[in-house]
């Protein structure tokens, strides 16, 4: 029933395996080659350091005209990631370009962990804490990493 996988997806998948991005793994699901299990290491010098975060990524039918869909499966305390793991990131929405790839998107997510943006929040309560009392927020993010991302 389903159309053959576009060459671009095959190429991207092959390269993710042969030349992986440091700190990031992405493995396609055998039953659905558009659905990837992703693991991202928390960037050092961030409250997520030492954590390993699981995500899932799906390439919709219209990829690369449409961006991939990505969400966190590991609980994380971050102003741009909500309780269901949804991510607020411009390149996943309005600023998507078909020149971007799975690897560049995953790198952008890793960069988002290193530099949270509480001025464009998805999790309002977390963002408020981040702006009101940053050190407490960083401590919470650290504790959450210890608790869920090990």
């Amino acid at each position: 029933m389903s159309n053959p996988l576009p060459k671009r997806i095959i190429k991207e998948t092959a390269r993710l395996v042969s030349d992986p991005v440091p700190g990031i793994t992405a493995v396609p699901n055998e039953e659905n080659l558009r659905h990837f299990q992703v693991e991202i290491q928390g960037p050092s010098e961030s409250p997520y350091a030492g954590g390993l975060f699981k995500l899932e990524l799906y390439l919709p039918e219209d990829y690369p005209m449409e961006p991939p869909k990505v969400r966190f499966l590991t609980k994380i305390y971050h102003p741009n990631i909500d309780r269901l793991g949804r991510i607020c990131l411009d390149v996943l929405k309005n600023n998507w370009s078909p020149a971007l790839q799975i690897r560049t998107i995953l790198l952008s997510i890793q960069a988002l962990l290193a530099s949270p943006n509480p001025h464009d929040p998805l999790a309002n309560d977390v963002a408020k804490e981040w702006l009101d009392n940053e050190s407490a927020a960083l401590q919470k993010a650290k504790e959450c990493t210890e608790k869920y991302a090990k």
Partner: protein, 146 residues
């Protein structure tokens, strides 16, 4: 033994030759010389369409009919795409009319012969896009008023 030719079929092969023009303008230090084509299969190094990542000579995934040649077009910004790929992208309002590679407003380089047959179609696309822009701008204004 005597060999007698009964019939001769002429065949020819061709390929897009825009490698040169693109390289002259490409700021890419990984290419030492335009002639030396790297033979590794590293995606970034080959001449591939920036959207579908199929080689320039290959048929893009948006081709519906193998009889219709999958042409290339070159933007003012010198980025090269299969005409089918870039048209599909620009038709989406989410593209905002921008080149996928450099995010500048995408229009064809009118000086290049390769673009000639496509100029009219892209003019049309651009004018449509402008009207979409105005509509979007209006909608945003209304939202602000609310």
């Amino acid at each position: 033994m005597k060999v007698e030719f009964k019939k001769v079929h002429c065949v020819c092969a061709w390929s897009w030759d825009i490698h040169q023009t693109e390289n002259d303008l490409k700021i890419d230090d990984t290419h030492e010389s335009p002639q030396a084509k790297p033979s590794n299969n590293n995606d970034e190094e080959e001449d591939v369409c920036g959207i579908c990542r199929v080689t320039y000579n290959g048929m893009c995934p948006n081709c519906t009919n193998p009889q219709v040649p999958c042409c290339l077009v070159v933007g003012e910004c010198n980025h090269v795409f299969h005409v089918h790929c870039i048209t599909k992208w620009l038709k989406q309002s989410s593209s905002k009319g921008l080149c996928p590679m450099c995010r500048q407003f995408f229009s064809l380089n009118k000086q290049l012969v390769i673009n000639k047959p496509q100029l009219a179609a892209f003019e049309n696309l651009n004018s449509k896009k402008h009207s979409v822009h105005f509509l979007l701008a209006d909608a945003n204004d209304e939202m602000l008023l609310d």
